[in-house]
Protein backbone atom coordinates (compact mmCIF):
# COMPACT_ATOMS: atom_id res chain seq x y z
CA UNK A 1 0.00 0.00 0.00
CA UNK A 2 1.27 3.36 -1.03
CA UNK A 3 1.42 5.56 2.03
CA UNK A 4 -0.18 8.97 1.71
CA UNK A 5 2.16 11.64 2.92
CA UNK A 6 0.17 14.79 2.65
CA UNK A 7 -3.53 15.55 2.21
CA UNK A 8 -4.88 18.91 1.13
CA UNK A 9 -8.40 19.89 2.15
CA UNK A 10 -10.08 22.78 0.32
CA UNK A 11 -13.40 23.70 1.88
CA UNK A 12 -14.77 27.07 2.93
CA UNK A 13 -16.55 25.36 5.82
CA UNK A 14 -14.10 25.48 8.73
CA UNK A 15 -15.86 22.69 10.64
CA UNK A 16 -15.47 20.24 7.77
CA UNK A 17 -11.74 20.95 7.80
CA UNK A 18 -11.55 20.47 11.56
CA UNK A 19 -13.52 17.23 11.31
CA UNK A 20 -11.21 15.80 8.67
CA UNK A 21 -8.14 16.77 10.66
CA UNK A 22 -9.50 15.03 13.76
CA UNK A 23 -10.40 11.81 11.93
CA UNK A 24 -7.22 11.59 9.92
CA UNK A 25 -4.92 12.38 12.82
CA UNK A 26 -6.80 10.36 15.42
CA UNK A 27 -6.47 7.14 13.52
CA UNK A 28 -2.89 8.02 12.76
CA UNK A 29 -3.70 7.74 9.08
CA UNK A 30 -1.96 10.84 7.95
CA UNK A 31 0.14 13.31 9.84
CA UNK A 32 0.35 16.08 7.32
CA UNK A 33 -2.94 17.75 6.57
CA UNK A 34 -3.10 21.19 5.10
CA UNK A 35 -6.42 22.94 4.94
CA UNK A 36 -7.50 25.88 2.80
CA UNK A 37 -10.79 27.75 2.87
CA UNK A 38 -10.05 29.25 -0.49
CA UNK A 39 -9.10 27.63 -3.83
CA UNK A 40 -6.71 30.41 -4.84
CA UNK A 41 -4.39 29.97 -1.87
CA UNK A 42 -4.40 26.22 -2.41
CA UNK A 43 -3.31 26.72 -6.02
CA UNK A 44 -0.46 28.99 -4.94
CA UNK A 45 0.66 26.34 -2.47
CA UNK A 46 0.66 23.67 -5.18
CA UNK A 47 2.44 25.88 -7.73
CA UNK A 48 5.24 26.63 -5.27
CA UNK A 49 5.84 22.86 -5.12
CA UNK A 50 7.81 22.94 -1.88
CA UNK A 51 5.70 20.18 -0.32
CA UNK A 52 4.37 17.24 -2.29
CA UNK A 53 0.60 16.59 -2.04
CA UNK A 54 -0.89 13.12 -2.66
CA UNK A 55 -4.61 13.71 -2.22
CA UNK A 56 -6.92 16.70 -2.51
CA UNK A 57 -10.36 16.77 -0.91
CA UNK A 58 -12.26 19.48 -2.76
CA UNK A 59 -15.55 21.22 -1.97
CA UNK A 60 -17.74 22.58 -4.83
CA UNK A 61 -19.59 25.62 -3.51
CA UNK A 62 -17.07 28.11 -2.21
CA UNK A 63 -16.92 31.87 -2.46
CA UNK A 64 -14.43 33.51 -4.83
CA UNK A 65 -13.16 30.37 -6.55
CA UNK A 66 -15.48 27.36 -6.53
CA UNK A 67 -14.44 23.74 -6.96
CA UNK A 68 -15.05 23.66 -10.72
CA UNK A 69 -12.92 26.74 -11.31
CA UNK A 70 -10.22 25.26 -9.08
CA UNK A 71 -10.15 22.12 -11.25
CA UNK A 72 -9.73 24.23 -14.40
CA UNK A 73 -6.82 26.13 -12.93
CA UNK A 74 -5.36 22.94 -11.45
CA UNK A 75 -5.11 21.41 -14.92
CA UNK A 76 -3.03 24.38 -16.05
CA UNK A 77 -0.36 23.62 -13.45
CA UNK A 78 2.88 21.82 -14.32
CA UNK A 79 2.12 18.15 -14.99
CA UNK A 80 5.16 17.18 -12.93
CA UNK A 81 3.33 18.51 -9.89
CA UNK A 82 -0.20 17.34 -10.65
CA UNK A 83 0.28 13.92 -12.26
CA UNK A 84 0.37 11.95 -9.01
CA UNK A 85 -2.36 13.86 -7.15
CA UNK A 86 -5.71 12.20 -6.52
CA UNK A 87 -8.75 14.45 -6.36
CA UNK A 88 -11.93 13.59 -4.47
CA UNK A 89 -14.88 15.97 -4.50
CA UNK A 90 -16.60 16.45 -1.19
CA UNK A 91 -19.82 18.39 -1.16
CA UNK A 92 -23.11 19.28 0.47
CA UNK A 93 -24.65 19.61 -2.96
CA UNK A 94 -27.54 17.25 -3.61
CA UNK A 95 -27.86 18.50 -7.16
CA UNK A 96 -27.72 15.50 -9.47
CA UNK A 97 -26.15 17.69 -12.16
CA UNK A 98 -23.09 18.29 -9.96
CA UNK A 99 -22.67 14.54 -9.64
CA UNK A 100 -23.02 14.01 -13.39
CA UNK A 101 -20.55 16.79 -14.10
CA UNK A 102 -17.99 15.29 -11.71
CA UNK A 103 -18.38 11.84 -13.24
CA UNK A 104 -17.48 13.25 -16.65
CA UNK A 105 -14.21 14.71 -15.39
CA UNK A 106 -11.33 12.25 -15.56
CA UNK A 107 -9.26 13.95 -12.89
CA UNK A 108 -12.01 13.53 -10.29
CA UNK A 109 -11.50 10.12 -8.73
CA UNK A 110 -14.67 10.12 -6.61
CA UNK A 111 -17.68 12.27 -5.76
CA UNK A 112 -18.73 12.14 -2.13
CA UNK A 113 -21.76 13.67 -0.46
CA UNK A 114 -21.57 15.01 3.06
CA UNK A 115 -22.14 14.33 5.94
CA UNK A 116 -18.81 12.60 6.44
CA UNK A 117 -18.22 9.71 8.79
CA UNK A 118 -15.17 7.67 9.66
CA UNK A 119 -16.04 4.88 7.25
CA UNK A 120 -16.26 7.26 4.28
CA UNK A 121 -13.00 8.96 5.23
CA UNK A 122 -11.22 5.61 5.48
CA UNK A 123 -12.58 4.62 2.07
CA UNK A 124 -11.23 7.80 0.54
CA UNK A 125 -7.81 7.27 2.05
CA UNK A 126 -7.70 3.72 0.67
CA UNK A 127 -8.54 4.88 -2.84
CA UNK A 128 -4.95 4.96 -3.99
CA UNK A 129 -4.24 1.35 -3.17
Amino acid sequence: MKKLKRVMVIDDDLFTNIYLEIILKRNNIIKNIITFQDGKKALEFLAANTNKVDLILLDINMPKMNGWRFLKEFQKLDKKITATILIVMLTSSVNIRDKMKAEKLQIVKKFIKKPLNEKIVTEIINLNN
Partner: protein, 358 residues
Protein backbone atom coordinates in the same frame (compact mmCIF):
# COMPACT_ATOMS: atom_id res chain seq x y z
CA UNK B 1 -70.47 61.27 -44.30
CA UNK B 2 -72.04 58.30 -46.04
CA UNK B 3 -73.45 55.74 -43.67
CA UNK B 4 -73.81 52.32 -45.26
CA UNK B 5 -74.09 50.57 -41.92
CA UNK B 6 -76.63 50.98 -39.17
CA UNK B 7 -74.83 53.10 -36.61
CA UNK B 8 -77.74 53.07 -34.21
CA UNK B 9 -77.79 49.30 -34.07
CA UNK B 10 -74.00 49.12 -33.62
CA UNK B 11 -74.17 51.69 -30.81
CA UNK B 12 -76.75 49.63 -28.97
CA UNK B 13 -74.70 46.46 -29.30
CA UNK B 14 -71.27 47.91 -28.66
CA UNK B 15 -71.93 50.61 -26.07
CA UNK B 16 -71.97 48.35 -23.04
CA UNK B 17 -69.29 45.89 -24.11
CA UNK B 18 -66.45 45.53 -21.63
CA UNK B 19 -63.81 46.07 -24.31
CA UNK B 20 -63.31 49.45 -25.89
CA UNK B 21 -64.83 49.73 -29.38
CA UNK B 22 -64.36 52.73 -31.66
CA UNK B 23 -65.34 53.28 -35.30
CA UNK B 24 -63.32 55.62 -37.52
CA UNK B 25 -63.87 57.11 -40.94
CA UNK B 26 -60.83 57.83 -43.09
CA UNK B 27 -62.14 60.30 -45.67
CA UNK B 28 -58.85 60.66 -47.56
CA UNK B 29 -56.85 57.44 -47.80
CA UNK B 30 -53.67 59.39 -48.57
CA UNK B 31 -53.97 61.75 -45.58
CA UNK B 32 -53.55 60.30 -42.08
CA UNK B 33 -54.90 63.52 -40.55
CA UNK B 34 -58.32 62.89 -42.13
CA UNK B 35 -59.41 60.25 -39.63
CA UNK B 36 -62.66 61.06 -37.79
CA UNK B 37 -64.45 59.53 -34.81
CA UNK B 38 -67.72 57.94 -35.91
CA UNK B 39 -68.57 56.01 -32.77
CA UNK B 40 -66.89 55.41 -29.38
CA UNK B 41 -68.38 53.07 -26.79
CA UNK B 42 -68.39 53.83 -23.06
CA UNK B 43 -65.15 52.02 -22.29
CA UNK B 44 -63.24 53.84 -25.00
CA UNK B 45 -64.65 57.23 -23.99
CA UNK B 46 -63.59 56.49 -20.44
CA UNK B 47 -60.06 55.60 -21.57
CA UNK B 48 -59.93 58.93 -23.47
CA UNK B 49 -61.45 60.77 -20.49
CA UNK B 50 -63.90 62.44 -22.93
CA UNK B 51 -67.65 62.85 -23.37
CA UNK B 52 -69.38 61.49 -26.47
CA UNK B 53 -70.37 64.97 -27.65
CA UNK B 54 -66.78 66.17 -27.52
CA UNK B 55 -65.45 63.65 -29.99
CA UNK B 56 -68.01 62.30 -32.43
CA UNK B 57 -67.62 63.81 -35.90
CA UNK B 58 -64.26 65.37 -34.96
CA UNK B 59 -60.86 64.44 -36.32
CA UNK B 60 -58.27 62.65 -34.22
CA UNK B 61 -55.81 65.47 -34.92
CA UNK B 62 -58.27 67.90 -33.27
CA UNK B 63 -59.11 65.83 -30.22
CA UNK B 64 -55.97 63.83 -29.56
CA UNK B 65 -53.07 65.43 -31.46
CA UNK B 66 -50.65 63.69 -29.09
CA UNK B 67 -51.45 60.44 -30.90
CA UNK B 68 -49.31 61.75 -33.78
CA UNK B 69 -46.42 62.49 -31.48
CA UNK B 70 -45.39 59.11 -30.11
CA UNK B 71 -44.54 55.70 -31.47
CA UNK B 72 -47.50 53.82 -30.02
CA UNK B 73 -50.02 56.36 -31.30
CA UNK B 74 -48.48 56.56 -34.76
CA UNK B 75 -48.44 52.80 -35.11
CA UNK B 76 -52.18 52.65 -34.42
CA UNK B 77 -52.89 55.49 -36.86
CA UNK B 78 -50.81 53.84 -39.60
CA UNK B 79 -52.81 50.67 -39.02
CA UNK B 80 -56.13 52.57 -39.37
CA UNK B 81 -54.89 53.91 -42.73
CA UNK B 82 -53.79 50.51 -43.98
CA UNK B 83 -56.96 48.65 -42.96
CA UNK B 84 -59.25 51.48 -44.21
CA UNK B 85 -57.67 50.91 -47.60
CA UNK B 86 -57.08 47.17 -47.72
CA UNK B 87 -59.68 45.73 -45.35
CA UNK B 88 -59.00 42.68 -43.18
CA UNK B 89 -57.66 43.08 -39.64
CA UNK B 90 -54.42 43.44 -37.75
CA UNK B 91 -53.79 42.42 -34.19
CA UNK B 92 -51.30 44.91 -32.78
CA UNK B 93 -50.83 43.02 -29.53
CA UNK B 94 -49.72 45.21 -26.63
CA UNK B 95 -49.50 48.94 -27.37
CA UNK B 96 -48.15 51.61 -25.04
CA UNK B 97 -50.29 54.72 -25.19
CA UNK B 98 -50.10 57.98 -23.32
CA UNK B 99 -51.48 61.51 -23.35
CA UNK B 100 -51.73 64.12 -20.64
CA UNK B 101 -54.60 62.20 -19.04
CA UNK B 102 -53.75 58.53 -19.33
CA UNK B 103 -50.78 56.28 -19.76
CA UNK B 104 -50.90 52.56 -20.05
CA UNK B 105 -50.69 49.31 -21.91
CA UNK B 106 -53.51 48.26 -24.21
CA UNK B 107 -54.32 45.13 -26.12
CA UNK B 108 -55.27 46.54 -29.48
CA UNK B 109 -56.60 45.26 -32.80
CA UNK B 110 -57.88 47.11 -35.86
CA UNK B 111 -60.57 45.65 -38.15
CA UNK B 112 -61.92 46.73 -41.53
CA UNK B 113 -65.68 47.37 -41.86
CA UNK B 114 -65.80 48.61 -45.45
CA UNK B 115 -63.66 50.85 -47.64
CA UNK B 116 -62.68 53.95 -45.59
CA UNK B 117 -64.17 52.57 -42.35
CA UNK B 118 -62.39 50.70 -39.57
CA UNK B 119 -63.09 49.81 -36.00
CA UNK B 120 -60.61 49.44 -33.17
CA UNK B 121 -60.87 47.04 -30.26
CA UNK B 122 -59.03 48.10 -27.13
CA UNK B 123 -58.53 46.57 -23.70
CA UNK B 124 -56.65 48.28 -20.92
CA UNK B 125 -54.25 45.69 -19.52
CA UNK B 126 -51.95 48.08 -17.65
CA UNK B 127 -52.72 46.65 -14.21
CA UNK B 128 -52.64 43.11 -15.55
CA UNK B 129 -49.23 43.64 -17.15
CA UNK B 130 -47.86 45.24 -14.00
CA UNK B 131 -49.16 42.40 -11.87
CA UNK B 132 -47.71 39.84 -14.27
CA UNK B 133 -44.24 41.38 -14.18
CA UNK B 134 -44.33 41.65 -10.38
CA UNK B 135 -45.52 38.08 -10.07
CA UNK B 136 -42.80 36.75 -12.35
CA UNK B 137 -40.19 38.61 -10.35
CA UNK B 138 -41.56 37.44 -7.00
CA UNK B 139 -41.69 33.85 -8.22
CA UNK B 140 -38.13 33.95 -9.42
CA UNK B 141 -36.94 35.43 -6.14
CA UNK B 142 -38.83 32.84 -4.15
CA UNK B 143 -37.26 29.99 -6.12
CA UNK B 144 -33.84 31.51 -5.69
CA UNK B 145 -34.47 31.99 -2.00
CA UNK B 146 -35.59 28.40 -1.45
CA UNK B 147 -32.58 27.15 -3.33
CA UNK B 148 -30.03 29.22 -1.45
CA UNK B 149 -31.68 28.72 1.92
CA UNK B 150 -31.81 24.97 1.54
CA UNK B 151 -28.29 24.80 0.24
CA UNK B 152 -26.79 26.92 3.00
CA UNK B 153 -28.73 25.05 5.65
CA UNK B 154 -27.08 21.82 4.56
CA UNK B 155 -23.56 22.73 5.57
CA UNK B 156 -24.10 23.31 9.32
CA UNK B 157 -26.42 20.31 9.46
CA UNK B 158 -23.76 18.06 7.96
CA UNK B 159 -21.35 19.26 10.64
CA UNK B 160 -23.87 18.48 13.37
CA UNK B 161 -24.23 14.95 12.03
CA UNK B 162 -20.50 14.34 11.60
CA UNK B 163 -19.52 15.64 15.04
CA UNK B 164 -22.42 13.87 16.78
CA UNK B 165 -21.15 10.62 15.28
CA UNK B 166 -17.70 11.41 16.63
CA UNK B 167 -19.17 11.80 20.10
CA UNK B 168 -21.22 8.67 19.67
CA UNK B 169 -18.23 6.48 18.90
CA UNK B 170 -17.28 4.32 21.84
CA UNK B 171 -14.02 6.06 22.61
CA UNK B 172 -15.90 8.62 24.67
CA UNK B 173 -17.54 7.46 27.87
CA UNK B 174 -21.05 8.78 27.87
CA UNK B 175 -23.74 7.87 30.38
CA UNK B 176 -27.22 6.72 29.30
CA UNK B 177 -28.64 10.23 29.02
CA UNK B 178 -25.62 11.32 27.02
CA UNK B 179 -26.01 8.41 24.60
CA UNK B 180 -29.75 9.00 24.23
CA UNK B 181 -29.14 12.71 23.61
CA UNK B 182 -26.66 12.02 20.85
CA UNK B 183 -29.03 9.53 19.26
CA UNK B 184 -31.84 12.08 19.20
CA UNK B 185 -29.58 14.82 17.85
CA UNK B 186 -28.51 12.55 14.99
CA UNK B 187 -32.05 11.39 14.20
CA UNK B 188 -33.40 14.92 14.26
CA UNK B 189 -30.58 16.13 12.04
CA UNK B 190 -31.32 13.45 9.47
CA UNK B 191 -35.01 14.32 9.54
CA UNK B 192 -34.17 17.96 8.95
CA UNK B 193 -31.84 16.92 6.17
CA UNK B 194 -34.65 15.00 4.45
CA UNK B 195 -36.78 18.13 4.62
CA UNK B 196 -34.10 20.36 3.18
CA UNK B 197 -33.33 17.99 0.33
CA UNK B 198 -37.02 17.61 -0.50
CA UNK B 199 -37.48 21.39 -0.48
CA UNK B 200 -34.43 21.84 -2.63
CA UNK B 201 -35.71 19.34 -5.17
CA UNK B 202 -39.19 20.84 -5.05
CA UNK B 203 -37.77 24.28 -5.80
CA UNK B 204 -35.74 23.00 -8.72
CA UNK B 205 -38.68 21.59 -10.72
CA UNK B 206 -38.78 23.11 -14.16
CA UNK B 207 -35.10 23.99 -14.23
CA UNK B 208 -34.52 21.58 -17.08
CA UNK B 209 -34.73 23.44 -20.36
CA UNK B 210 -35.18 20.67 -22.88
CA UNK B 211 -37.31 17.56 -23.00
CA UNK B 212 -35.63 14.29 -23.93
CA UNK B 213 -36.57 10.94 -25.38
CA UNK B 214 -37.00 8.54 -22.49
CA UNK B 215 -37.29 4.77 -22.72
CA UNK B 216 -39.77 3.76 -20.00
CA UNK B 217 -38.30 0.25 -19.60
CA UNK B 218 -34.84 1.70 -19.12
CA UNK B 219 -36.13 4.29 -16.66
CA UNK B 220 -37.66 1.57 -14.49
CA UNK B 221 -34.52 -0.59 -14.70
CA UNK B 222 -32.40 2.39 -13.57
CA UNK B 223 -34.86 3.06 -10.78
CA UNK B 224 -34.43 -0.54 -9.55
CA UNK B 225 -30.66 -0.01 -9.43
CA UNK B 226 -31.06 3.26 -7.49
CA UNK B 227 -33.46 1.63 -5.03
CA UNK B 228 -31.46 -1.59 -4.76
CA UNK B 229 -30.87 -1.36 -1.00
CA UNK B 230 -34.55 -0.82 -0.27
CA UNK B 231 -35.60 -3.56 -2.69
CA UNK B 232 -33.26 -6.15 -1.16
CA UNK B 233 -34.05 -5.17 2.42
CA UNK B 234 -37.85 -5.35 2.02
CA UNK B 235 -37.94 -8.10 -0.64
CA UNK B 236 -39.75 -5.86 -3.10
CA UNK B 237 -40.93 -6.91 -6.57
CA UNK B 238 -41.25 -4.23 -9.22
CA UNK B 239 -42.82 -5.28 -12.52
CA UNK B 240 -43.46 -3.29 -15.66
CA UNK B 241 -46.32 -4.87 -17.60
CA UNK B 242 -46.73 -2.25 -20.33
CA UNK B 243 -45.44 -2.41 -23.90
CA UNK B 244 -42.03 -0.95 -24.79
CA UNK B 245 -42.54 2.77 -24.87
CA UNK B 246 -40.49 5.87 -25.56
CA UNK B 247 -41.86 9.21 -24.44
CA UNK B 248 -40.68 12.82 -24.60
CA UNK B 249 -40.38 14.44 -21.16
CA UNK B 250 -38.13 16.32 -18.74
CA UNK B 251 -35.78 13.55 -17.69
CA UNK B 252 -34.77 14.36 -14.10
CA UNK B 253 -38.33 15.39 -13.24
CA UNK B 254 -39.74 12.17 -14.66
CA UNK B 255 -37.20 10.05 -12.77
CA UNK B 256 -38.19 11.84 -9.56
CA UNK B 257 -41.89 11.27 -10.28
CA UNK B 258 -41.49 7.51 -10.69
CA UNK B 259 -39.13 7.33 -7.73
CA UNK B 260 -41.53 9.14 -5.40
CA UNK B 261 -44.53 7.00 -6.36
CA UNK B 262 -42.65 3.70 -6.25
CA UNK B 263 -40.94 4.51 -2.93
CA UNK B 264 -44.33 5.49 -1.46
CA UNK B 265 -45.74 2.14 -2.59
CA UNK B 266 -42.92 0.37 -0.76
CA UNK B 267 -42.85 2.59 2.32
CA UNK B 268 -46.57 2.62 3.11
CA UNK B 269 -46.71 -1.12 2.85
CA UNK B 270 -47.00 -3.77 5.58
CA UNK B 271 -47.20 -6.69 3.19
CA UNK B 272 -44.42 -9.29 3.62
CA UNK B 273 -43.66 -9.03 -0.09
CA UNK B 274 -44.36 -5.52 -1.34
CA UNK B 275 -45.21 -5.62 -5.04
CA UNK B 276 -45.28 -2.67 -7.38
CA UNK B 277 -46.89 -3.08 -10.79
CA UNK B 278 -46.30 -0.35 -13.36
CA UNK B 279 -48.31 -0.08 -16.55
CA UNK B 280 -48.39 2.36 -19.44
CA UNK B 281 -50.79 2.84 -22.32
CA UNK B 282 -50.63 5.15 -25.27
CA UNK B 283 -53.78 7.18 -25.68
CA UNK B 284 -54.91 9.98 -27.96
CA UNK B 285 -52.61 12.95 -27.35
CA UNK B 286 -51.17 11.49 -24.15
CA UNK B 287 -49.70 8.54 -22.30
CA UNK B 288 -51.40 7.11 -19.25
CA UNK B 289 -49.36 5.44 -16.53
CA UNK B 290 -50.43 3.50 -13.47
CA UNK B 291 -48.39 2.49 -10.44
CA UNK B 292 -50.10 -0.09 -8.27
CA UNK B 293 -49.03 -1.33 -4.84
CA UNK B 294 -50.28 -3.84 -2.27
CA UNK B 295 -49.77 -1.42 0.60
CA UNK B 296 -51.89 0.00 3.42
CA UNK B 297 -54.18 2.05 1.14
CA UNK B 298 -55.58 5.55 1.55
CA UNK B 299 -58.99 6.37 3.03
CA UNK B 300 -61.42 8.04 0.63
CA UNK B 301 -61.67 11.21 2.69
CA UNK B 302 -57.88 11.63 2.61
CA UNK B 303 -57.50 11.36 -1.17
CA UNK B 304 -57.95 15.10 -1.77
CA UNK B 305 -55.48 16.04 0.95
CA UNK B 306 -52.44 14.09 -0.09
CA UNK B 307 -51.32 16.28 -2.98
CA UNK B 308 -51.01 19.35 -0.76
CA UNK B 309 -47.49 20.31 0.22
CA UNK B 310 -46.51 19.38 3.82
CA UNK B 311 -49.71 17.38 4.18
CA UNK B 312 -49.10 14.10 6.02
CA UNK B 313 -51.51 11.34 7.03
CA UNK B 314 -49.36 9.51 9.56
CA UNK B 315 -47.47 10.13 12.74
CA UNK B 316 -43.75 10.32 12.35
CA UNK B 317 -43.14 7.26 14.49
CA UNK B 318 -45.46 5.22 12.23
CA UNK B 319 -44.04 6.38 8.90
CA UNK B 320 -41.35 9.00 8.43
CA UNK B 321 -41.72 11.58 5.71
CA UNK B 322 -41.74 15.23 4.78
CA UNK B 323 -45.15 15.64 3.15
CA UNK B 324 -43.53 17.02 0.03
CA UNK B 325 -43.33 13.92 -2.19
CA UNK B 326 -46.81 13.88 -3.72
CA UNK B 327 -47.00 17.67 -4.02
CA UNK B 328 -43.77 17.36 -5.95
CA UNK B 329 -45.32 14.68 -8.19
CA UNK B 330 -48.32 16.88 -8.88
CA UNK B 331 -46.09 19.78 -9.88
CA UNK B 332 -44.10 17.56 -12.23
CA UNK B 333 -47.31 16.28 -13.84
CA UNK B 334 -48.57 19.84 -14.31
CA UNK B 335 -45.30 20.67 -16.01
CA UNK B 336 -46.12 17.90 -18.50
CA UNK B 337 -49.74 19.10 -19.00
CA UNK B 338 -51.06 15.95 -17.39
CA UNK B 339 -53.28 14.85 -14.53
CA UNK B 340 -52.72 12.68 -11.48
CA UNK B 341 -55.35 10.76 -9.53
CA UNK B 342 -55.73 7.55 -7.58
CA UNK B 343 -57.94 4.68 -6.58
CA UNK B 344 -57.41 2.94 -3.27
CA UNK B 345 -58.81 0.45 -0.83
CA UNK B 346 -57.73 0.46 2.80
CA UNK B 347 -55.62 -2.57 3.61
CA UNK B 348 -55.47 -3.73 0.01
CA UNK B 349 -53.45 -1.18 -1.90
CA UNK B 350 -53.39 1.94 -3.99
CA UNK B 351 -53.09 2.68 -7.68
CA UNK B 352 -51.81 6.06 -8.76
CA UNK B 353 -52.62 7.10 -12.31
CA UNK B 354 -51.07 9.94 -14.22
CA UNK B 355 -50.96 11.24 -17.76
CA UNK B 356 -48.15 12.89 -19.71
CA UNK B 357 -49.05 14.92 -22.77
CA UNK B 358 -47.41 13.99 -26.06
Amino acid sequence: MSKKFDLELISKVANNLTVGIGIFHVSDLSDNKSIRYVFMNKVLLYEMRKEKEEVLGKKIIEIAPEAYEHEGGLMVIDTYMKIANEGGFINLGLVEYSNHMVAGTYECSVHGIMKNYVYVQLRNVTELEKAKIELEKANKELKQFTYIASHDLQEPLNSIISFSRLLESSKYNLDEIGKKSIEIIINSSYRMKDFIIALLEYSSIGKEKKKKKIDVDQLIENLKIDLNNLIVQKEVKINYIGNPLTIIAFETDLIKLFQNLVVNGIKYNKNKKPTIIINATEKFGQYEFSINDNGIGIAKEDCDQIFKVFQRLHNRDQFSGTGIGLAHCKKIIELHDGKIWLTSELGKGTTFYFTISK
